[in-house]
């Protein structure tokens, strides 16, 4: 059974999603219990898988028993395994968290849980697959479930979901075009095989053409700066319970896929790599500045966080633009760290909304007295976003800056500094509201029991809190794991 772990991790949430409605019909809570169990199971399995990958090296899993260029292959290297653990954790927490939101009709509840599990499935699949077309299918599963989850957030959510759907379909179409061109030139769909063929040389033009489509496709999906138009309103109006997963993880996995294409498949030997790096660098620099500047002007905390995501995605692609193994590790560290920070911030937002029904930061006056844990996470996550040690955000920034210094890209260091300061401006605005502003005397919608919130909200909050500090302090462990894969990749 052990060799089947890679596929089981994807299958567990999938099967739970497929059976969720049926079980909800049998008993109201059964479907949800199944989804929770399945995501927990896939979390456990992903940890086991990570251990296996570290000790025994990359796992190649040929689905159906067909050898790679002919069948579909799942490839789990240490990088994938780590990201899968991250997705499983946030997914599990979000499934717990989502219980507290949405309406209670069985069909809606069951479908919503199913869609959430499918989103997790899609993300897990996108991460672990080693086949170009399979990636497209998972991309579409992710997108479709995201459209639906965003549409569930009221009428404005519907409009943002529709806009996202148009843009997202363009992205998927571009992705298909890109892999179509690659397929036409090489005749294979397997990533490893493709990489071997492309690196024989003579495919520079193919790579250029497909690269331009792939940048557009992944750029749109991960909300990289000039393609980010759909993102703020979609993140703002998404279904509150599932927002942590959508905001925290959904933008990262296309970035991982982008890394796969540009570094693992294309390599760095072809002649256009220079332009790729410059292009990515320009996008990310402007994204970091633009996102932070836009976030400064907002008063809805969801909008602040959404725009800050544009900036934070810029950090990740900045690592790709620098391209040394250290910088790449920095960008993946940021990917993992940011999932917990942004997820955590949205857990906080959701918790505050759950308790007080407000999302406007002007109403946040001194809620720290009533929700110390939530506000503690809010502060730690905000500091991590700014990059104050010893939180996760600082160390990813450190590796990015170190990589930039290694390639003498001083301007990137300057941009990192400026962007952190801009982040500081709006995050301290939030902190100031939470801790300093006068109490607005909001009425408490949930005041049973000893705890400040239900356990299903407290658990995610506490886990994110620990994770942000833990990733920060023990970042070298993660760095070593990442380096198992990244050594030799990049410039």
């Amino acid at each position: 059974m052990k060799e089947n772990i890679p596929v089981l991790i994807i299958l567990l949430p999938l099967c739970s999603a497929l059976l969720c409605l049926l079980l909800t019909g049998l008993h109201k809570r059964l479907g949800r219990a199944l989804v929770v169990l399945a995501t927990a199971g896939s979390l456990v399995l992903s940890v086991i898988q990570l251990r296996t990958v570290i000790t025994e090296g990359t796992i190649h899993y040929a689905v159906g028993g067909y050898e790679p260029p002919f069948g579909i292959e799942l490839v789990i290297d240490s990088l994938n395994a780590l990201i899968i653990v991250m997705i499983s954790i946030i997914g599990f927490l979000t499934v717990l968290f989502a219980e507290n939101f949405g309406d209670d009709r069985p069909v809606v509840k069951g479908s919503a849980n199913a869609i959430l599990a499918l989103l997790i499935t899609g993300l897990l699949g996108m991460t672990s697959t080693g086949d170009m077309f399979n990636l497209y299918v998972f991309l579409e599963i992710t997108s479709l479930s995201a459209y639906c989850l965003i549409a569930m957030g009221g009428s404005k959510g519907v409009v943002s979901a529709y806009r996202y759907m148009l843009v997202g379909t363009i992205a998927a179409t571009f992705y298909l075009l890109g892999i179509g061109i690659l397929y036409s030139a090489t005749g294979t769909l397997n990533m490893g095989d493709l990489s071997a063929i492309l690196n024989k040389g003579g495919y520079d033009d193919v790579m250029l053409v497909s690269m331009s489509f792939l940048i557009a496709a992944f750029g749109i999906k991960m909300a990289l700066f000039p393609f980010h138009g759909w993102q703020p309103s979609a993140y703002t109006h998404a279904e509150p319970g599932t927002r942590p997963l959508i905001t925290g993880v959904m933008g990262k996995i296309p970035a991982l896929a982008m890394f796969r294409y540009f570094y693992c498949i294309y390599g760095t030997d072809y002649i256009y790599v220079k332009y790729l790096l410059i292009l990515l660098g320009v996008f990310s620099v402007f994204g970091m500045l633009y996102g932070s500047l836009m976030a400064m002007g907002q008063s809805d905390i969801r909008k602040i966080l959404a725009y800050s995501s544009v900036a934070q995605i810029g950090y990740i692609s900045l690592g790709f633009a620098i391209g040394t193994p250290v910088a790449l590790a920095g960008s993946f560290l940021h990917m993992i760290g940011h999932a917990f920070m942004k997820g955590g911030l949205f857990f906080c937002t959701g918790a505050i909304r759950f308790k007080y029904g407000t999302v406007n930061i002007d109403d946040f006056g001194r809620i720290y007295k009533k929700m110390p844990l939530t506000c503690g996470l809010l502060v730690v996550a905000a500091l991590s976003m700014i990059g104050i040690p010893p939180t996760a955000g600082f160390f990813s920034k450190w590796y990015l800056a170190l990589g930039a210094a290694g390639r003498h890209e001083w301007i990137y260091i300057a941009v990192l500094v400026i962007s952190s300061l801009l982040n500081a401006v709006y995050f301290f605005k939030v902190i100031e509201k939470v801790f300093i502003q006068q109490d607005k005397g909001l009425d408490d919608k949930w005041s049973k029991g000893e705890l400040e919130l239900p356990l299903t909200i407290i658990l995610p909050v506490v886990v994110c809190f620990i994770a942000i500090l833990g990733i920060g302090i023990f970042n070298v462990k993660l760095f070593d794991i990442l380096m198992l894969t990244l050594e030799g990749v990049g410039l």
Binding site: V137, Y147, Y162, T169
Partner: protein, 132 residues
């Protein structure tokens, strides 16, 4: 000259057609003001890509990929892979269109319009309305 163009069109002309289809779709999504039209243009784009993929399945001298005899020679059948892939792509585009249409349904119910500029105006109206 003409023979060059003829040869080019014979070999690659179909790509030109799919490219035009794709550009029409993309232009439509950007230019159209009506959300329904945008959705149709989106479909046009997807169809263009499906055509594009199917181009690779063509093989001179090949027939449909259903084995007619026990002995199978690769040169006698066209490439089955793009067809298989595009079946998936079609289903996905079907799903996307379905979701898109239901979203449009909701938008129409709520805002009474699917024209983009009208919609933006009404969205802003509700925003100010809520603040009061």
């Amino acid at each position: 000259m003409m023979t060059t163009i003829n040869a080019f069109l014979a070999a690659k002309g179909i790509y030109l057609l799919t490219l035009i289809l794709l550009s029409l779709g993309a232009a439509g999504i950007i230019v159209c003001n009506n959300y329904m039209k945008k959705l149709i243009c989106m479909n046009v784009m997807q169809v263009a890509v499906i055509f594009f993929f199917l181009c690779f399945g063509q093989k001179t001298g090949g027939t449909i990929p259903v084995a007619l005899s026990e002995v199978v020679k690769a040169s006698e059948y066209i490439n089955p892979l793009p067809h298989g892939l595009m079946l998936t792509a079609i289903v996905v585009s079907l799903g996307t269109t379905g979701v898109g249409l239901s979203l449009l349904f909701r938008i129409t119910e709520k805002y009474g319009t699917i024209e983009e500029d009208d919609l933006i105006r009404r969205e802003n109206k509700t925003k100010t309305g809520e603040k009061e």
